[in-house]
């Protein structure tokens, strides 16, 4: 099946072209060109846009807007985004990071999507043109959303001490995730946890919240004893994937261990 690439100067024109059967949006191409190389015949046309808004990063008053075509390596070295650099650096090896985009990561099925896990903990908004959707809702509906182009993501850049991220992998330094965890904590001056957002990767086919653990942390201290109830319910609602890296059973077993280490680190 011959493929074709169609390039549009504006997002609107690219959006319109995506309506055609067999058309798929091309971000960095690390998943979608791979699918074509593997013989995915449902794909006939790549659509991309060179709209400058897709490539821009702005950080104003602590709120970041990152264009969907911005790559992981660009985020990793951006001076105002140091707090989330670890999540960008967790994606693939150097060549993949130079290609992998924020937009593509939002659509990457588990075991991929490490950066989207961080965005979920940060309560990011996903922008599709002038429409902004909370990332929770966006991720739940992302398959149905096929056709609309994500233009950017927007979130408050966290204070480094409030945000924690870990990617657990067997092959160092760039193996595929066993799981990834991102946590945003709001702690009172005496250390009592006021609120927590915990996002998990590989614990379902897309990034998900550990809602029960989030609630169990409220009012507790970040000590082994304080977090124990949260760890006990960390797996609630999860449906981990099984792949060549780990079984669902293994992922479920090690989740509380890694969440505990991350919270106490």
């Amino acid at each position: 099946m011959p493929l074709a690439l169609k390039t549009f100067a504006t997002l609107n024109d690219a959006d319109a072209a995506l309506k055609a059967a067999g058309a798929r949006y091309l971000g960095g191409g690390t998943l979608v060109v791979r699918a074509a190389n593997e013989g995915d015949v449902s794909l006939t046309t790549f659509v991309r846009s060179t709209d400058p808004a897709l490539f821009s990063i702005s950080v104003e008053g602590g709120r970041a807007t990152i264009g969907a075509s911005v790559t992981m390596s660009t985020i990793a070295r951006h001076p105002d985004l140091a707090a989330i650099a670890p999540a960008a650096r967790a994606v693939g090896g150097p060549a993949i990071r130079n290609m992998a985009t924020v937009g593509g990561n939002l659509f990457a099925p588990a075991p991929y999507g490490d950066f989207a896990v961080a965005l979920l903990a940060l309560d990011a908004e996903v922008l599709e043109g002038d429409q902004a959707t909370p990332i929770d809702a966006f991720l739940k509906a992302r398959d149905a959303a096929a056709g609309r182009i994500v233009s950017a993501v927007r979130f408050d850049v966290p204070e480094p001490k409030k945000f924690r991220f870990v990617k657990v992998a067997r092959v160092k330094p760039k193996g595929v995730s066993v799981l990834s965890i991102a946590v945003l904590l709001d702690e009172a001056s005496d250390g009592t946890i006021r609120a927590a957002r915990i996002a998990l990767g590989c614990m379902a086919n897309r990034p998900m919240r550990a809602a029960a653990a989030e609630q169990a942390l409220v009012g507790r201290q970040r000590t082994a004893e304080g977090i124990a109830p949260a760890l006990a319910v960390a797996g609630e609602g999860t449906a981990p994937i099984t792949d060549a890296i780990a079984s669902a059973w293994y992922r479920a077993e090690v989740l509380p261990v890694h969440l505990g280490r991350l919270l106490l680190s």
């Binding site: 060109v33 060549a95 760039k174």
Partner: protein, 169 residues
Amino acid sequence: MGVAREEKRMAKVPIQFVLNGDEKAEFVESGSTLLKVLREKLGDTSPKGGCHQGTCGTCSVLVDGELRLSCLTLAETCEGASVTTTAGLAEGGVLHPLQRAFQEGFATQCGFCTPGMIMAAKALLDRVPNPTREEVVDAISGNICRCTGYEPIIRAILSAARSNSHHAA
């Protein structure tokens, strides 16, 4: 008939970029990967096709100085860019310091991973002329070698950096 002919004509698109310092202009099938265009159209077989999935790294090239996997890059997205491959590193028959270090340090056995390893190493040394061992390991973490056990490759890259003769080509 008319439509079919038009589609056939539209399947080829013009593309221009600089390959190892030389300007190239070609008609390629739309949607072709850079790897395919380099090897089959332009005769530069230094980037290898290993997995075509982004996992082995042997197709690595530099696009405007950035390490990319040519198997997952569409050639048309490189319009106007400067592409560097291992074939462009030697100057006037004199091997690039990285090539020499690989040869002298037995960092090449079957050689299939070598062009990707060398481009990944070049991307690192262009940015970080005196890398730590950890930085070298990270730089080649997207490249698979089934022969050497990696140690000779890491040593060769460190020795090319130390030889201090490295310069951005």
